[in-house]
């Protein structure tokens, strides 16, 4: 009804028509309904994809993730998208990461390390910040990388014009490729910043604060272009984001309980063996053997059957 009223109002006078801009030109929800936003790179988390208008991370745009707790699963949040991009043989550029990326871990997450390039890994301070921004802009202007991940020092303050420049470079990436060769999906920029930047303005299409505890990951959405902020807090299950880590931790906890209290249910051991690696498969096989030796109680396992499990598992010995 409001839309009809304002349309009549603007039609009533030419001056108003020139100076009042309707929602279609502002890229608001109504505009999004009128024209479908470009499809993004699926984040791999259904809750997040359902919330975002692009059904994933926004393409050709900057996304800001602001946190003061680096190393709490924020990289795992990006890994499904990174894996999808490397499967499409699109390079990924990580600039200014606090530590060096570990190839075997990337491989475990389905990311082909051959397509991952790092610049200034493990920087000593913010001295590299200027160079990192330059490298980011250069990479975005080529339009080649599928994803550019930039880490800014937590206490760094970036001027709005710098952010604007990055964002424009990001938006121009698609057209750059279109001129010279075959069309390629756009480059997206993920910018990790300190939580202190949440109060600062930014041209990023998607901005959220990141917080994590042992169970959940909470994304406080500060800005999402094309969507009204009716649901500013998205909660993800951390065990789903870091599934392998939490699977191993869960299995280890079961194993601890088993050794601590002497007995446990066989189904738990089997479940644990499905969560973790071959070590627990060995335990399960030993438990099965023990069960065969004690047929009177088929569902119980004594501590004696797993004697010697305290000894660390030797992975490689030469």
């Amino acid at each position: 009804m409001d839309a009809v009223f304002y349309r009549h109002l603007t039609d009533s006078h030419p001056l108003l028509r020139e100076h009042v801009r309707m929602g279609e030109s502002l890229g608001t929800l109504s505009a999004m309904n009128a024209s479908v936003p470009p499809a993004g790179i699926a984040s791999g988390f259904a809750v997040l994809d359902a919330f975002l208008p692009w059904r994933g991370w926004p393409p050709s745009a900057m996304t800001e993730i602001m946190t003061d707790m680096p190393g709490c699963g924020e990289l795992s949040l990006l890994m499904p998208a990174m894996a999808r991009l490397t499967q499409q043989k699109r390079p990924i550029l990580c600039i200014g990461a606090p530590h060096e990326l570990f190839g075997p871990a990337l491989l475990q997450a389905g990311i082909d390390p051959a397509f991952v390039t790092q610049i200034h890994p493990a920087p000593s301070s913010s001295t590299h910040q200027r160079e990192n921004l330059w490298a980011t802009e250069q990479a975005l202007r080529t339009g080649l990388p599928g994803m550019v991940v930039l880490w800014s020092p937590p206490r760094a303050t970036l001027a709005p014009e710098i952010l604007r420049r990055l964002h424009l470079a990001c938006m121009s990436s698609q057209s750059t490729i279109g001129q010279s060769g075959s069309p390629t999906p756009a480059t997206m920029l993920i910018h990790f910043r300190g939580a202190g930047s949440m109060s600062q303005p930014s041209p990023a299409w998607l901005r959220f604060g990141y917080a994590a505890d042992d169970r959940h990951i909470r994304l406080q959405v500060l800005k999402c272009r094309g969507r009204e902020l009716t649901r500013p807090l998205i909660t993800l299950d951390r065990a789903a984001v870091q599934d392998r880590l939490f699977g191993q931790l869960r299995a280890a906890r079961w194993l601890d309980n088993m050794i601590e209290f002497g007995t446990t249910a066989l189904v738990d051991v089997v479940a644990a063996s499905q969560c973790t690696d071959d070590a627990l498969e060995t335990i399960a096989s030993q438990a099965t053997a023990s069960m065969q030796r004690q047929p009177n109680d088929p569902n119980r396992l004594t501590a004696g059957a797993i004697t010697g499990l305290d000894a660390p598992r030797v992975l490689a010995s030469h």
Binding site: M69, G71, A105, T142, D213, D214, Q248, L315, H318
Partner: protein, 481 residues
């Protein structure tokens, strides 16, 4: 057939031609304790300065005399530049430091339409260089060489005897003392020497003279060593005034890179690295190395690399000369050449971007793909697993042990306080033990035995920590980010 290219006054021609025109200039070299004039220009000759006179005598004849020390490197570079230009005629080029070039063109005659046409081709190519060169085409190498010292341009397709007989003895490349002895015997031309009995000549002057004559007249064949055909680019520009700002010397760098572009195109090569030396005489110099990992031939690409490198490492001193050396050249296919810098593939754009970043940020700051540090044994094991899995195409992530996405390299020691802050280690009862006990591959530090744990740390992060069983110390080695 041999094409002899004689560069008269090479020590002088190696310097700027403009300089040699404007003032009396001599080039001197040191013989014993005396500086002797070995080349002079026309202005100096008009003033009465003669070859082989001392430098002091030359200065006495002209107060405005410019005396330059001989630059053997320049002479060599000049000859090699000339040889590069003539490499399209034949690959067999002999470089003689005191003469010029000798080209074995016997196999190229038909291709170029005969001796006369080949000579004209050579002259056309030489004209592109600011050099005065005598060109003689003759059946023997030594004969062509002698004729070139007396004739500016000559083609002798058939009998060489008739041309050589009339030559004065000074054209021969034999010791000056020997020529003087022959003149004392009233022998002034080669024909006169040839009329003498060779046995008597050998007895009196040694075999050197008769050997030279036999080779020149084609009685015996002469063998010459040819220059290495592998191309190497070395060019320079010099400034008459000291260039202070980048805007002043930048055109010189552009010219050099354009020359490199032409050179690479001529030789169908890619350049992987080039060295630029910005110098101010002997006082100051700055060397820059530009690297293109994929190999590039295009001038614009090198200019971009140079620009970003100069932003990071500007030249802070004055310049009088810029040298450009390029030794790492790869073979390229003609169809790979993109003369207009268009139609680049995505792969090439990506590699150019990496080159650009390497040039500005430095190679050490770019990790093209996640590396596996040699000092971290678990990573080596993981790498081995990965390689094995990729090779067998049967890799399954769940079969390998869990690894953190962030690697703390080198491992950070954890003190007692840090250990207390770790709330608890979840898998304390089942650590992952990684043992490497061989020597040689990783040096003495290879004998390690570590128990790895996943520990919950502050701010709900999870760390990959290990206990070194030999020293009983704890380290942080990764973060499950």
């Amino acid at each position: 057939m041999w094409l002899a290219l004689y560069v008269p006054g090479l020590p002088l021609q190696a310097f700027s031609r403009e300089l040699a025109r404007s003032a009396p200039v001599v080039v001197f070299d040191r013989f014993g304790r005396r500086d002797v004039v070995i080349a002079r220009n026309r202005v100096a000759a008009a003033l009465g300065i003669k070859l082989h006179c001392t430098l002091a005598e030359a200065h006495a004849l002209s107060a405005a005399l410019i005396a330059l020390p001989r630059a053997a490197e320049r002479e060599r570079a000049t000859l090699h530049r000339l040889a590069d230009a003539l490499a399209t005629l034949t690959p067999n080029i002999h470089v003689s430091a005191d003469f010029g070039l000798l080209l074995d063109v016997a196999a190229s005659l038909t291709l170029h339409g005969g001796a006369e046409a080949l000579l004209q081709h050579a002259i056309k190519r030489i004209e592109a260089h600011p050099l005065r060169v005598h060109c003689v085409l003759a059946p023997t190498a030594r004969g062509a060489r002698w004729l070139a010292t007396a004739h500016r341009q000559l083609c002798v397709p058939g009998r060489i005897d008739e041309w050589l007989d009339d030559l004065p003895l000074a054209c021969m490349d034999i010791p000056r003392s020997l020529i003087a002895e022959l003149r004392e015997l009233n022998l002034h031309h080669l024909a006169a020497v040839r009329r003498l009995d060779p046995a008597e000549l050998n007895q009196r002057f040694g075999v050197e003279l008769t050997n030279a004559l036999d080779q020149a007249y084609g009685v015996v064949t002469e063998s010459l060593c040819f220059r290495d055909a592998s191309p190497r680019f070395h060019e320079y520009v010099e400034f008459l005034d000291l260039a202070r700002e980048q805007a002043h010397w930048w055109p010189g760098a552009v010219i050099l890179l354009r020359q490199l572009h032409e050179f690479l195109r001529l030789h169908v090569r890619h350049a992987r690295a080039l060295q630029l030396k910005f110098s101010n005489g002997q006082q100051q110099s700055t060397e820059l190395t530009l690297v293109s990992a994929h190999g590039s031939h295009h001038v614009n690409e090198w200019l971009r690399l140079l620009e970003v490198r100069l932003e990071r490492q500007p030249i802070t001193h004055e310049l009088s000369r810029i040298d450009l050396v390029c030794t790492e050249l790869d073979h390229a296919e003609v169809h790979e050449f993109d003369f207009f810098d268009h139609g680049k593939t995505h792969q090439l754009i990506w590699q150019s971007l990496l080159d650009l970043m390497s040039s500005r940020l430095g190679q050490a700051h770019i990790v093209i793909r996640p590396r596996y540090p040699h000092n971290a044994v678990p990573e080596s094991q993981s790498m081995a697993d990965t390689v094995r899995a990729v090779a067998s195409d049967a890799y399954h992530a769940s079969t390998s042990a869990l690894r953190p996405p962030w690697l703390v390299d080198p491992p950070r020691p954890l003190n007692a306080t840090a250990l207390q802050r770790l709330r608890h280690a979840f898998n304390r009862r089942q650590p992952e033990r990684i043992v490497f006990a061989w020597n040689g591959c990783y040096g003495d530090t290879s004998a390690v035995c570590r128990d790895y744990y996943i520990a919950a740390a502050d701010h709900h992060s999870y760390w990959w920590i290990f206990r070194d069983r030999r020293t009983d110390r704890w380290f942080l080695h990764g973060i499950f980010a």
